[in-house]
């Protein structure tokens, strides 16, 4: 099953890339003209994201580099001790929603210290793989269309992250514990 899915996944991109222009040519679409017409929109979209991403990354960077993040993590640890959630991966759980690069770096530090095939290595892998950088996704998607008020989207994203973290812990304990 895993092999099939992983094979499909590898095949997917080249297949899409070949299929779309082929099918379009068959439907008599001027493919190159269509491509450049659509591609034109990419540049302004990326530029429009700059203020949003700079704003978010500045806040995340200040939060992390000044040691504020570390302070809140220490504050959290007695609370997490109560439910026996592995202390070593708390920074990952907290970092994941705010910084993709930051959480990835943390996963690497877990791999270096405990190895990727240790309990903590598997837990960190599952946590990283099953959630997304909520704040980044929100910034990019809402930033691209100029949304200022995000309604309840942030809360939904953070609840999903929490569920993903707890589910990772549960399943890794069940399978490898």
């Amino acid at each position: 099953m895993v092999e099939v899915v992983s094979f499909l996944s590898k095949l997917m991109l080249p297949a899409i890339l070949a299929f779309i222009p082929l099918y379009a040519t068959f439907r008599k679409v001027p493919v190159y003209e269509s491509f450049t017409e659509g591609a034109k929109e990419g540049f302004p979209t990326a530029i429009q994201l700059i203020p949003h991403l700079v704003g978010m990354m500045v806040a995340v960077s200040v939060f992390r580099e000044t040691g504020a993040l570390h302070f809140y993590l220490r504050l959290l640890s007695p609370l997490v001790d109560g439910i026996h959630f592995p202390k070593e991966v708390i920074p990952l759980a907290v970092l994941r929603p705010i910084s993709g690069a930051g959480s990835l770096a943390f996963v690497e530090s877990i791999f270096r210290t405990y190895g990727p095939d240790s309990f903590l290595g598997r837990l960190a892998s599952t946590m990283q793989g099953s959630t997304d950088t909520t704040l980044y996704v929100l910034t990019v998607y809402f930033g691209a269309v100029g949304i200022r008020r995000t309604l309840y989207a942030v809360k939904v994203g953070l609840w999903a992250d929490l569920a993903g973290m707890l589910a990772s812990w549960f399943i890794v304990v069940m399978v490898y514990g």
């Binding site: 899915v5 992983s6 499909l8 997917m12 779309i20 222009p21 679409v29 493919v31 491509f35 659509g38 591609a39 990419g42 540049f43 979209t45 990326a46 994201l49 978010m56 990354m57 500045v58 960077s61 200040v62 939060f63 580099e65 000044t66 809140y72 996963v107 690497e108 791999f111 270096r112 990727p116 290595g121 598997r122 892998s125 599952t126 990283q128 793989g129 099953s130 959630t131 909520t134 704040l135 996704v137 990019v140 998607y141 691209a144 269309v145 100029g146 949304i147 200022r148 008020r149 995000t150 309604l151 989207a153 939904v156 994203g157 609840w159 999903a160 589910a167 990772s168 399943i171 399978v175």
Partner: protein
Amino acid sequence: MVNYIWMFMIASGVVAAALQGRLDLVTSAALKGAKEGVAVCIGLISILVFWMGMMRIAQDAGLLEKLARLLRPLVRVLFPSVPPDHPAMGYILSNMTANLFGLGNAATPMGIKAMEELQKLNPNPKTASPAMCTLLALNTSGFTLIPATIIGIRMKYGSVDPTEIIGTTLFATGCATLTAILVDRLYRSQWEKRSGH
């Protein structure tokens, strides 16, 4: 909420730096973050330009409409406010498919196109619509069949079986996505009651 999170991060950063008597940390961190933000955007240019070109071909060939029609029952439940034949549906489905196969680079431009289409249906262009929130819910919960990035990093660190975490990840990501959909529903109905929809 984003406003509060943003302010919270900056304010606690400044306080933390002040307590250590190292206010210079704030300045250097801010500049570092700003640089990172621009770098990410520049990195996105090639991806956005390329995939938006491909998406236009797919759209002109009628592929997005086809995709939307094929999976209509599923997305209709998730996006009741979007007309079933609206182009947004095709983009939403492309975005979901790309995420499913871990094609993050391709998923972002499709998600942005979906947002642009949803924005056309949005009566308040500065405020997110419930349909936008649902799309964000699906994306922030990170539903994926193959967590390609993490498998790559496991390989780099010499894992004996880099793909062994696919099963546990599938379970966890499923729980996260299910939670996102349910919580989104809950908030949406609360919002509808409050705003009299």
